[in-house]
Amino acid sequence: MAVAKRRAARVKAFGMKIEVERRGTGKKPLVIFYDEEALTLDSPVLDALARSFQLIIVSPPGFGLSDRPDWIETIDDCAYICLDVLDAIKVRNATVMGFGLGGWLAAEMAVKTTHSFSRLVLVDPFGIKVGGPFDRDIQDIWFLAPDRLLALKYADVEKGRIDYAVMPEKKLEIIARNKETYARFCWQPYMHNPKLKRRLHRIDVPTLVLWGDSDGVITPAYGRAYAREIPGARFATIARAGHFPHIEQPEAFLRAVGGFIGLAKAPARKSTKAKAKSRSTAKSKARVKARTKGNAKTSSRTSVRAMSRKGKRR
């Protein structure tokens, strides 16, 4: 498999510099917000996506080579910055795909404005509180013993073992800083923004929520609850995959996402044909499609409610 050429740059936004990497030769923009461990960056899935899309990989503040001024403390803060980044590099009509922490970030952006989004894919995202005060919605990843955590994150733990000893110093520095940033933004409230659940109804682009059926950190039940809050969102699970389904089951992941994002060479299944004609028609068309074609996991209740609200808003 040909590996897509990587072109990294630092974009000025919000008074800081944010790392933006481009891969692929396609025209259609696909914005990637990678997972909290940045495992997505080296995954074969990105190479496959890069054959059809222009990948725009944004490192949030404190991740990769992006700055992290002290005032930034939440994913909500990061969302404003990343929205500015997309504007600064003139991204429009982009498919936006976020994994784990990156999924949370993409959702935080989408509830603010979707003017650069055409559709949204969230893969095992963090970000909301589903249960009551005594419910542990998201396993405490910083408290658990490493082996226990690995078993929660992966369907097959062998796929999750990482040998840091062989990595160059520069890479380890980025990994160590990523880990620090992750804790800084997500320690408390733990892995969620108490306001986000109430805001998810504002997402007005077609949304696909994908979940590893063996994700033990945040379970598929949490994922279903997440998808229910997003108007018209489709929810699907990927078998034999944990918190990183795109890494554990790349082919199944591409099949699950292919039709929704219009991936070339993907099996023609459930294609939404949501090509970007005029933005609004593409969006409304896809939304209706999602509602009518949506399986039992799709919430038509929230969809209808949000559509009427949207009518008022615009």
Binding site: I175, A176, Q188
Partner: protein
């Protein structure tokens, strides 16, 4: 030099260590028997009262969710001892300011204890140990910022006497701060701060004229940090600088070397308290450079150097002071020379299964046979008037 008695008030009666994952953070409190606990509180407080009678000063600390330390609210122990002792200074080292919900409440508690004790309080502040970020749910990447903001607010509350002020910081917002009572000591009780590796932070402690304390670290490391303090000290008189530098080793004083070593072995229980790596190094508690080493498996927490070594190493490094009174004095003198001097010796004389009788015997021997020599050898020389800058 002043010498202080210290115990963490441990609850050592635990199941076999191979049957539990940790003695901290996650150990179920079904293993805590309140009747045994009541006896332990009485005896630990008694030992502090005895320290007072022996002419030693008293140091207290607090930790949470751990069997190694059942003093979970140092101000409570300090409040009891403020009434039960007559002479000793009482040093809380410290109030875990980064983990406290309200620095103004801390200012009030300290002021009250200071007044009850008629000005015998030393008020230390700490950022909290790594594993405590779980109990307090303090963001481990922000403990230092919280520590300093909390101290600023607390000191301002102590030193403002003309009615309310407001505070809108990063972590705390207060609209009308106006504490009653105000501290007995003016302008406020002496402030102490601990540190282990962050030189910039130590220099900040020095610039503010606070006392800097280090616990249980090898002498080369201690000297490095003491030097950092000395380089930024606001005191022009080196004796005044020395007065503001403190060190804590384990201390075991006995009639014979063999008896002292047996006691030291029991004290070292504290160093081997079982704690899993993820509790010892939560993300962002130490700088990125340390965590790069952690990824390589070469760093598993701040205290590894002393946790995994034997008594000989601990003795050589000055982490343990142990022997007959004469040996103890000589070891203090040696360590003093190795680290460039210090003014406060904080002595962990009780830990783990060290009994009441053993503790009292050790502290009595120290107070009667070592302390007089220490006081003489390391006496604070008064600065000549007008010659302070020399």
């Amino acid at each position: 030099m002043r010498c202080w008695h210290f115990t963490e008030m441990p609850y050592p009666h635990l199941p076999a260590l191979d049957t539990i994952d940790s003695v901290r953070v996650s150990i179920p409190n079904k293993y805590y028997d309140p009747k045994t606990g009541a006896d332990l509180y009485q005896r630990y407080l008694d030992e502090h009262v005895i320290a007072d009678e022996l002419g030693l000063d008293i140091m207290l600390n607090e930790h949470h969710q751990t069997a190694t330390c059942t003093d979970v609210a140092a101000p409570l122990a300090a409040a009891i001892l403020a009434r039960q002792t007559r002479r000793a200074r009482i040093c809380i080292l410290g109030n875990p300011m980064a983990n406290r919900a309200d620095p103004v409440r801390v200012a009030e508690e300290m002021a009250m204890i200071d007044v009850i004790s008629r000005g015998r309080l030393d008020s230390g502040f700490v950022r909290g140990v790594p594993y405590e970020t779980f109990a307090a749910n303090t963001n481990p990447t922000q403990t230092l910022e919280r520590l300093w903001e909390g101290i600023d607010l607390c000191v301002k509350a102590w030193t403002t006497h003309d009615g309310p002020f407001n505070f809108e910081g990063k972590f705390w917002h207060k609209r009308q701060v106006n504490i009653w009572p105000r501290p007995y000591q003016q302008p406020h009780p002496p402030v102490w701060i601990t540190g282990s590796s962050d030189k910039e932070n130590i220099k900040e402690v020095a610039r503010r004229g606070f006392t800097f304390a280090m616990f249980l670290q090898p002498h080369e490391k201690v000297k490095e940090m003491f030097d950092a303090y000395r380089s930024s000290s606001i005191y022009s008189d080196p004796e005044e600088t020395r007065r503001h530098i403190a060190y804590m080793p384990l201390v075991a004083t006995a009639d014979t070397e063999a008896e002292a070593e047996a006691l030291a072995q029991k004290l070292s229980w504290y160093l081997h308290a079982k704690t899993p790596p993820q509790f010892r190094n939560p993300p962002g508690y130490v700088p990125v450079a340390f965590n790069v080493q952690a990824l390589k498996g070469k760093y598993t927490g701040r205290t590894d150097a002393v946790r995994t070594r034997g008594l000989d190493y601990l003795k050589e490094q000055g982490v343990l002071i142990c022997g007959t009174p004469d040996q103890v004095f000589k070891q203090i003198k040696r360590f003093y020379g190795l680290v460039g001097g210090f003014g406060q010796l904080l002595m962990m004389q009780q830990a783990g299964f060290v009994t009441h009788d053993e503790t009292v015997k050790s502290m009595t021997l120290f107070a009667r046979e070592v302390y007089p020599r220490v006081k003489e050898e390391f006496a604070f020389r008064p600065a000549a008037k007008g010659a302070a800058a020399e």
